[in-house]
């Protein structure tokens, strides 16, 4: 586990060891969806908003 800050609310997040690029992590404190945009070093950003053609 490693600690990183939520880019939205500053909460300290405990990140799992095995992260994947583009993985989505919800912040347990503010609920923001965070995207893993880099692994070395780990960098988090707010995940993009849903676009109109997104879906299943």
């Amino acid at each position: 586990m490693s600690n990183h800050e939520c880019v939205e609310c500053g909460a300290v997040l405990s990140l799992p060891q095995e992260l994947l690029p583009n993985e989505i992590l919800p912040c347990p404190e503010c609920g923001a969806e965070l995207e893993v945009v880099a692994l070395e070093p780990i960098r988090l950003a707010l995940a993009p908003e849903v676009e109109e053609d997104w879906g299943e």
């Binding site: 994947l20 997104w54 879906g55 299943e56």
Partner: protein
């Protein structure tokens, strides 16, 4: 064995699929669709080495374009371009199901507000207005009467971009016990199904619908089989309505989300998908 997965985000579904492949000794290569630069005139040799490319983009348009290109290059994909092109457009799905004689709700297509109102007169109220391309219950509208229809159609023409000027209208069917059915098809086999229950008329789990196990009856299995064949098979989530006339196929989703359906059904959906994909990648009938 080389398998790639094109994705936008790595959601729970992608992680579960990656885990299932890993358990089977296959390390899937992730390809972020946002980073792609593709030359349509020059097949990239890197792509030609893949035995199978799984398309899991969130964006329908990105999925369609990458799949069309990969088809041109002769790269095997899951799902296939034809399947995604049919399932991503509600009119195309309707036509494919009609050609296969699959029962479905009555529908109309109209391109202007006045024609939309005429179509609604034919269908009767309430009716459902859907974008021809859309998902997750987004922009669905239940039109209870002509006043609501007039307002909504005017709004779509005034505020919407041109795709919103295509009105796909569908007869509304009251859902018994507030539920409909989602069936998961892998290949042509109905793996499992859930009831999606909600107090809202939209039962999508993305909108808060609750998932519970739905037994796969012979009727459900047969209908899903015909529906899957109609759109080319692959990995499909088929939405069905229970009506007095029997089951009707409402929609077919080409990039299924299943995180909420593993626990209630007790079925290892990602494992079944991985097995199917590996059989395809080996070049055999899955």
């Amino acid at each position: 064995m080389r398998i790639a997965m094109i994705h936008s985000r790595v959601r729970m579904e992608e992680k579960l699929l990656l885990g299932a492949f890993k358990e089977r000794g296959v390390q899937v290569e992730l390809i972020d669709d946002g980073t792609l630069v593709l030359d349509p005139l020059q097949p990239d040799p890197g792509w030609l080495d893949y035995d199978l490319v799984m398309q899991r983009s969130l964006s329908t348009w990105r999925a369609l374009h990458t799949l069309r290109l990969l088809r041109a290059w002769g790269v095997a994909t899951l799902n296939a371009y034809r399947t995604v092109s049919l399932c991503s457009n509600k009119l195309y799905t309707t036509l494919a199901l009609a050609e296969a004689g699959v029962p479905q709700p009555a529908a109309r297509l109209a391109f202007s507000a006045s024609a939309g109102l005429r179509a609604l007169q034919e269908l009767g109220y309430p009716a459902v207005l859907k974008p021809v391309v859309g998902s997750w219950g987004r922009l669905l509208a239940r039109l209870n009467d002509r006043h609501a229809a007039e307002a909504l159609l005017e709004h779509r023409h005034t505020l919407g971009a041109y795709p919103h000027h295509i009105h796909y209208l569908q007869a509304y069917h009251e859902k018994p016990a507030g539920r409909d059915i989602r069936a998961f098809v892998v290949g042509e086999r109905t793996l499992c199904a859930i009831y999606r229950t909600s107090t809202h008329w939209i039962t999508n789990t993305a909108c808060g619908g609750r998932a519970s196990n739905c037994p796969v009856t012979p009727e459900l299995e047969a209908l899903c089989h015909r529906s899957a064949l109609a759109v080319g098979g692959g990995l499909l989530a088929i939405d069905l309505l229970e009506t007095e006339e029997g089951l009707l196929v409402n929609e077919i989703n080409h990039s299924m989300e299943f995180r909420n359906s593993i626990e209630p059904t007790g079925v290892d959906i990602p494992g079944a998908v991985a097995d199917y994909a590996l059989a395809l990648a080996h070049g055999g009938a899955a």
